[in-house]
Amino acid sequence: MASTNGVMLQEEDVSLLRVDNINKTFVTTRALRDVKFEVEEGEIRGLVGENGSGKSTLASIISGIIYPDNGEMLKHGKSYEPGSLLDANRSKISIVVQEMATIDGLTVAANLFLGEEKLFKKFGFLNTSGMNKSSMKVLQRFGIENIKPDADISFLSFEDRKLVEFAKALYVEPDLLIVDETTAALSQHGREILFREIERLKSKNRSVIFISHDLGEVIEHCDHITIMKDGEIVDTVTTGSLKERALKELMVGRELQQSYYREDTEAFYSDDVVLGVSDLTLEGSYYNISFELHRGEVLGIGGLTNCGMHLLGKTLFGLESASSGTIEVVKRKKVITNYVEAIANGIGYLPKNRDQEGLMLLSSIKDNICLPSLSKIQRNTFISPRKERELAESGTRQLNIKMSSINQFCLYLSGGNKQKVTLSKWLVRDSDILILDCPTRGIDVAVKASIYSLMQELKVKGKSIIMISEELQELIGVSDRIIVLKDGRIKRIFSRRKDLTEEEIIHYMI
């Protein structure tokens, strides 16, 4: 293992960026605790950690999008307090954020120079053709040929939009570029452009902070890797001969490794089929999907992000209607065609995009938990507030949700607690079949562990779970069977066994 405690520093050298004792709290969650962090010139620094470990918060603070509660930052030894992203750009620090950062309705060029329009001011007006030309130049410099600068950006694909953002970040000629989990959205071509530019920056003695979940990629391209966990920096290591697994152990924390996933190594479920899916096809997304879900089974579905599995999840819940094929709840002999029926027949769904799809952020925890179960607790259309409260309280107790009261708005909960609320609404409804789309996305390790053990508990109780996940380890660790999708088709179905490895599965995914 190639861990050294901190990078060797030459004391007299002033580092490019120095972050000192930064703290940040979001209403109730402490996102960063006393973070100390340094980046040297000409260095590519990897930043890894579980979801919710504070990487993006740190990146946002460095690039001026949010402000720290306290602590200070120094750039080249001088105090650096960016008030906005534009300030950061002026100090030669730029970022490509994880979310979409281009605006519909503006042209590519306008997006590229958003906030910097005055560069093209001529007698008070914008020289749009000049702007288009410059953007053409900028795009071409980074080898992006197929994007027209005067096109409305809403017509571009997600990847192209990300490339535009990337060009925007590079255009300011940054001393420090932060790339926050962008590669997942890029194709091979896009990645090539990205890494070529990163290498080019390095060759000019500039630095990059590279945030990614793809540890292989991080190890391949970075000089040093900083590992974060629960808002704190765990360690900084030089890559050298570092192995992915070692890195992962650092990220997760070894003591958790044993009890993290379920302990049995054999698939175990009843023979009763609860959900039969046959020949399900959604044009342009997935084709001829057939499988059976059994009582007490955890069925994993894995694949690349765009392999169709997320849409498949929505279809199983009746939110999308498939072009052909059927979904049948076997016990009730009921074919699912819409989400109201799905819920009525005991199916629950945990969406991937929790804040938009899973929760009503501006509603109370109670309202969120009770919403799917209203028809269960109503008596002749009457819903007693007492019953509602009891239901919500039983849900929050079961999952140990940290909150001030059940009337608290979900907006102010931490990611893990939000996820618990989303899960809890299906648990209190006593759903037989749970479809979980990326259930551990963006939540910390402790909650993750509790969700895994909860799944185990449910399995023992005879509930069936379909878990859609992009994390292979999770799939291997929890599922009884794993369906691997590629380009919308079932490539292989693995049964749980002791020696199942990620490599084996990846082989069928790509």
Binding site: L319, I343, L371
Partner: protein, 307 residues
């Protein structure tokens, strides 16, 4: 911050009481004589019922601007059929309301045109229909129908509507689902709320109640006129906002907004005449009170972006 929210919730009540005290003092108590209170009730009843209907729509974060013209056309239908047979008038008014509600709701739910545009267009269309239905003038109702404008009918009617609507809004799946749509339509859908059905239902309720208002209004004034209900939709909007209803709907939508807002507007109109404030100034007083009330009661923390 939590304390502030608690206080903000009662500001509409406070405002109502303040206004009552203020005008009682200014009119030396004649505002709160039994006779005048009856009057205020009589004037507020149509507004309150219409507001109750719109509460359901606004709790989903949508708007209903078609109410003014709907009041006109349902009144015209009521008056037209009253000439044939007085018992027909109420059902016809309600049917008109149902039809318009269905149209509004379906356009929103299935064609996904923003409700602001739909209801504005429907406002124009219905105004035109009203003018045609009233033969560009007015239709009188049989004199004996004027007797229906009595407290013996109105008080039980209003109480029944308030109780039923309040029950549905606060204690049933329907009300909770509608507010869930306002809080987050996608999340509500993913939790099993039949969004389309609820949208149509909300407009249906709003339409039926407005149809009822059209009938009440005709009975009260004795005529359906081509101008009946002109700009009534703004009165409703003002009253609801005055009562603390957020434009975004959602969990902070409160049922009492309709009643408090309607009463406040009626008391303001009545009180200012009683005090003898110059007609030219009355509107300005209303405007200032409106802005002040909303400024104090607006729950900023329950809205991400103020638009």
């Amino acid at each position: 911050m939590r304390k502030m929210r608690g206080i903000k919730k009662i500001i509409p009540y406070l405002g109502l009481i303040m206004i009552i005290i203020l005008f009682s003092a200014l009119t030396q108590g004649s505002l709160i004589t039994f006779r005048n209170l009856k009057l205020i009730f009589n004037q507020a009843v149509v507004l309150i019922i219409a507001c109750i209907g719109v509460t359901f729509v606004m709790s989903q974060g949508s708007l209903d601007l078609s109410q003014g013209s709907l009041l006109g056309i349902s009144g015209a239908m009521a008056a037209t059929f009253a000439a044939l047979n007085t018992t027909l008038s109420l059902p016809m008014a309600l049917l008109t309301g149902i039809a318009v509600g269905l149209i509004n709701g379906s356009l929103l739910a299935f064609f996904k045109i923003p409700s602001f545009i739909i209801t504005l267009c429907v406002l124009f269309i219905l105004r035109g229909l009203t003018v045609i239905a009233t033969h560009s003038g007015s239709i009188p109702i049989p004199f004996e129908m004027l007797e229906l404008d009595s407290y013996q009918i109105k008080v039980p009617l209003l109480v029944t509507i308030i109780v039923i609507a309040c029950y549905f809004f606060n204690y049933t799946k329907i009300g909770k689902s509608m507010r869930a749509i306002g809080s987050g339509e996608v999340s509500a859908r993913y939790s099993g709320v039949p969004v389309e059905r609820m949208k149509i239902l909300a407009y249906l309720v709003s339409g039926v109640l407005c149809g009822l208002c059209g009938w009440l209004n005709v009975v009260r004034t004795g005529a359906a006129d081509s101008k009946t209900g002109l700009l009534f939709e703004l009165d409703i909007l003002t009253a609801l906002v005055l009562g603390g209803m957020p434009l975004t709907g959602g969990s902070s939508a409160k049922f009492h907004s309709a009643i408090i807002g309607g009463l406040m507007l009626a008391i303001l109109s009545n009180g200012m005449v009683l005090v003898g404030i110059k007609a030219e100034l009355q509107q300005a007083v209303k405007g200032v009170i409106f802005l002040l009330a909303v400024y104090l009661s607006f729950e900023r923390e329950s809205v991400v972006l103020i638009k």
